[in-house]
Amino acid sequence: MGDGSLVHLSRDEIRADLEAGTQAAAARAKVPPLAQDELDHLLEIYASPYRVVGVPQGAEVILTTDGSGTQDMGSRLNDLQIYEQVICTDTIELYNHDYSYKAVKTILPYEQTIMRQAQLLTTVPLQYGAMPDLGRYTQPDGPVQNWSELLPLGRFDEARAAQEEAVEQSADDIEFVAEGMVQAGADGLDLDTVGAAGDADFLAALKAVQAIRARFPDFGIQFGMASEFVLGMHGQLEYDGKRLAGLWPLDQLRLAQKAGATVFGPAINVNTGKTCAWNSARALTIVKPCMAEAQIPVHLNVGMGVGGVPMHVSPPLDAVSRAARAAVDILKIDGL
């Protein structure tokens, strides 16, 4: 199930869930449902009795992470080395426990020191990651008025002005950290959970990416979404003439690659009350339109609670491996 609990289903029940999942996505995101042969293939994946399923030989994809390691054992450098040498991931990512560019800005020299040391001791691409995290710019902890308090009071103009102010500050902070990480030798920057605070959060990330790309043409930029749909907390913000509120992954991708991202990561939320088959069919249906149009690699978010992976800190191996294989087989995804 989407919450990770074990459930036994017949083939007919799985087939019904796959069909319901793709139809739910088609209705909600206004995209075509999966074709019958794709649903048949998903049925074989989800009806498999085996604990682990895998992609065909030669169809393997790149794995990226939102942070490598737990930071609670050994050092952060140890975390990166373990990911590279023991788990053998394709990329690794240095991060701070306080996973926010606003927080990292104040400790950037310390983060640069770890980055430059880690670059001497690792071989695989090593990025730095954090979240735009626009909510952190609001009072009482941040500098701008809190739009979540203003909106219920009907003070819409003030709420919008506060978000616009936060956008500029956030974009500046992300660019500031990016510059520092370029100086320290990083291979790229991961903007994780873009849009978590709505359309203003999304705009801050786009503006930051555009500025970073203009200054550092060879710097990797991962643009990972927070959820499937950009919430209109502001409602009137635009980028490149496109209104941001209400965008689904295809339009998110278009803007991310226009701004200058080199990897786009759609995030499709899991319904914990539905089966993994239902959730996977729904996620793949929503993301599929991206694959034909993408000019940059698409790495589907398949951490806990997104992309068909159950919302649990220890998602079962059978569920995770099925979500991964389904994405590769159906979407021809560029990475996970």
Binding site: V53, G54, V55, Q57, G58, A59, E60, V61, I62, L63, T64, D66, G67, T70, Q85, I87, C88, T89, D90, T91, R116, Q119, L120, T123, V124, P125, Q127, V182, G185, D187, G188, D190, D218, F219, G220, Q222, A261, T262, V263, A294, Q295, I296, P297, H299, N301, V302, G303, V306, V313, S314, V320, S321, R322, R325, A327, V328, I333, D334, G335, L336
Partner: protein, 121 residues
């Protein structure tokens, strides 16, 4: 981004669908995605051509072990499998940058900061 959270999830994704990082050519293909924004088929083809292997070889840990050692592309920190003559980490990244004809930021930084300096220059 993709595989996100820790506590075993990277292992599950790696077994099911991952290229294998240092075990194979996963890190090399990833560099083409991050730095050049190449889609997966183009990135794999580029790396295979530069290495003189097939695309299928890129995910074969046995084939790539020999290729990585021969070309000095870095391997495991292990006295049995990585002798003092085998480049690793920053040493290997110099070879990777040359072989892939790709700028690697830390390699360029290394060259910059390790260049000879003189007082008053």
């Amino acid at each position: 981004m993709g595989e996100g959270d820790t506590f075993g999830q990277p292992v599950a994704h790696g077994v099911a669908a991952g290229m294998g990082g240092l075990r194979t050519a996963g890190d090399l293909v990833a560099r083409l995605q991050l730095t050049r924004g190449l889609r997966l088929p183009e990135a794999k083809r580029y790396v295979a051509d530069k290495l003189g292997v097939t695309v299928e070889d890129l995910s074969d840990p046995v084939a790539m072990y020999d290729v990585r050692r021969a070309l000095g592309l870095g391997t495991y920190y292990d006295s049995q499998y990585c002798g003092t003559a085998d480049p690793n980490s920053i040493e290997a990244k110099f070879h990777i940058a040359d072989l892939l004809d790709l700028p690697i930021n830390c390699v360029e930084r290394f060259r910059r900061v390790s260049a000879p300096r003189r007082m008053g220059a």
